[in-house]
Symmetry: C2
């Protein structure tokens, strides 16, 4: 770290699409009949969202958004977390803001007034816990450079950016501004690749951004493969190591690998009785890993915090922790 | 039954406060500091609701409303269910309507436009699974006799009314109209006492209504005690038997007792690994019990269907079934 976390007001500030999730069970046929690729995220417009919702089973609503989930995880570990993202002045926006703040996160991005409603992500979950997401961005799509609070960013040890923000053009500009503000203040910039389809859409742009602006990269196997167009994990890891200081690549139930120069640190998963809903697994891994780095833990311990948070979230419905992760860490002998 | 269920389009039509629940964990101190009585339901205004919400932990949102939960349970058992209740034309209203319809329930009460928002119930849940509810009725408060579709009621074997509707005056008139329409069509009228505080507030009115209009009563121990102002369960049961044909009184983990004339049928609970959230337990008991009666099952089998549905809902967060109750019934050898 250029500056230690203790000199920063926040451990992690995340910038992302502010979204409320609607989660409902489905079977595989539901996905195939609608041409939905299991495990993927796709953007839909308001009409497509309404049509899909009408077909979905009764659901539950929970604040989501990848980076928002990470902020909730950081706060649940007792970390100091902040969020930048765009909600509308409506009921779902109220829910989103409440849940970030009630968890201990700082959030004061101005609400969008009179435009689109708060974004929502329709998540269909199959029996094996796999989630397939269709996102209507709504107000989240209106995040602009004006929403990037440089002072807040300068006061955060790590600024964490969602790869999903590469989709909406104004958000991408906000993304660049956030990275610039972080580096100007001597802070670290982390990015998640978010989704293999995002990587396919924005491969060149993501590579440029990582090379020019990222210190830490989070990805899963499929995203790593998409980024370097190789199915060879080790080759991909080497290429990633060549362009960024630290990376963590999650491999589902096989665990994760942390990459830093020539180091490759393997982290195991924590056992889970039954995987109910994998929504938020990557986001919670990021929460533990980034908080660990912000607090100056070893790569291994940071990775364990990531694994532990992921194991909690996949054992229940919804993308955010339902118990205090700080208690879980204590149970497992991990100290922050 | 005056007419058998097979001659009716719906097994159960429920009339209630259409409400979306916001569920969050809390500790006992949170309740006592705010003067909230553990396990109770109280009405709050919009400002009180906003102030309490601001203090609550991050939550999840799920369609609720006592009778709405019962409709979801009836449909989950494969029963034909319908609902009458008032939502607003807003995001939470959309969620409520979706969840009733997606579960297979019929729902076409006109939305309130330009008035209060859809009602919400803030539910704080302690570690023992006990829930304490503060309800802002919002649009639900605007249910009137105009919303009572007599043809729909005439086509339903049992019309089920929420005791909670005794609180809003216009809803009480709707309640009376629904009962009258049911009896005119030769259908049965069921009522739940809903909450001991509701019974304290409207004791005389509830007794009058039961005597004049109810064929079936659902209650828990505390509500029975409040109705007859006696802590003697058997004395209360005898008094109830004297004024209604069939009643079911739930007694938490001790099971339930079905009362019909001189008969007293004890029903055991189904074992639950861990009680997480008792929200909806009474509503789901009502679902199984009323569907059983509508289908002409024995009192014992109807009670078992009630117990089974209650056991499912208390083992997870949220007031409605998360698995198909019809599958659970098959597993337990109960046939509908």
């Amino acid at each position: 770290m250029t500056q230690s976390s203790s000199s920063a007001r926040f451990d992690v500030l995340a910038v992302g699409n502010a979204i409320v999730d609607v989660l409902a069970p489905c079977d595989e046929a539901f996905l195939t009949q609608r041409g939905l690729v299991s495990g993927s995220m796709q953007l839909v417009d308001e009409d497509q969202s309404a049509a899909l919702y009408a077909d979905m089973a009764p659901g539950v609503e929970a604040s989501g958004g990848s980076a928002g989930n990470t902020v909730a995880g950081v706060a649940s570990y007792g970390g100091r977390a902040a969020y930048i993202g765009k909600i509308a002045k409506d009921q779902l926006g109220e829910v989103f803001a409440h849940d970030i703040r009630a968890g201990g996160g700082h959030f004061d991005t101005p609400e969008l007034e009179g435009g689109a409603g708060t974004g929502r992500c329709l998540i269909n979950v199959t029996d094996d816990g796999q989630r397939t997401m269709c996102t209507y961005l709504g107000a989240a799509n209106q995040l602009t450079v004006d929403d990037i609070d440089a002072a807040l960013i300068g006061d955060s040890a790590i600024v964490y950016l969602e790869g999903y923000l590469f989709d909406p053009a104004p958000a991408r500009a906000a993304f660049e501004a956030a990275a610039a503000a972080a580096h100007k203040a001597g802070r670290k910039v982390a990015i998640t690749l978010s989704d293999s389809f995002v990587v396919h859409r924005w491969r060149a742009e993501l590579l440029d951004f990582i090379k020019s602006s990222a210190d830490i990269v989070l990805a899963n196997e499929a995203e790593l493969a998409a980024l370097f167009e190789t199915e060879d994990f080790n080759a991909g890891a080497d290429q990633l190591a060549a362009i960024v200081d630290i990376a963590a690549v999650t491999c589902g139930e096989k665990g994760s690998v942390i990459i830093a120069g020539d180091q490759r640190v393997s982290i195991q998963t924590y056992p889970v009785e039954k995987v109910l809903d994998t929504t938020g697994a990557g986001d919670q891994y990021a929460a533990g890993f980034l908080l660990g780095l912000a607090r100056g833990l070893s790569l291994e311990d940071a990775g364990k915090l990531g694994s532990l948070a992921a194991s909690e979230v996949i054992a229940h419905w919804g993308p955010r922790p339902q118990v205090k992760l700080s208690d879980l860490a204590t149970e497992k002998g991990l100290t922050l």
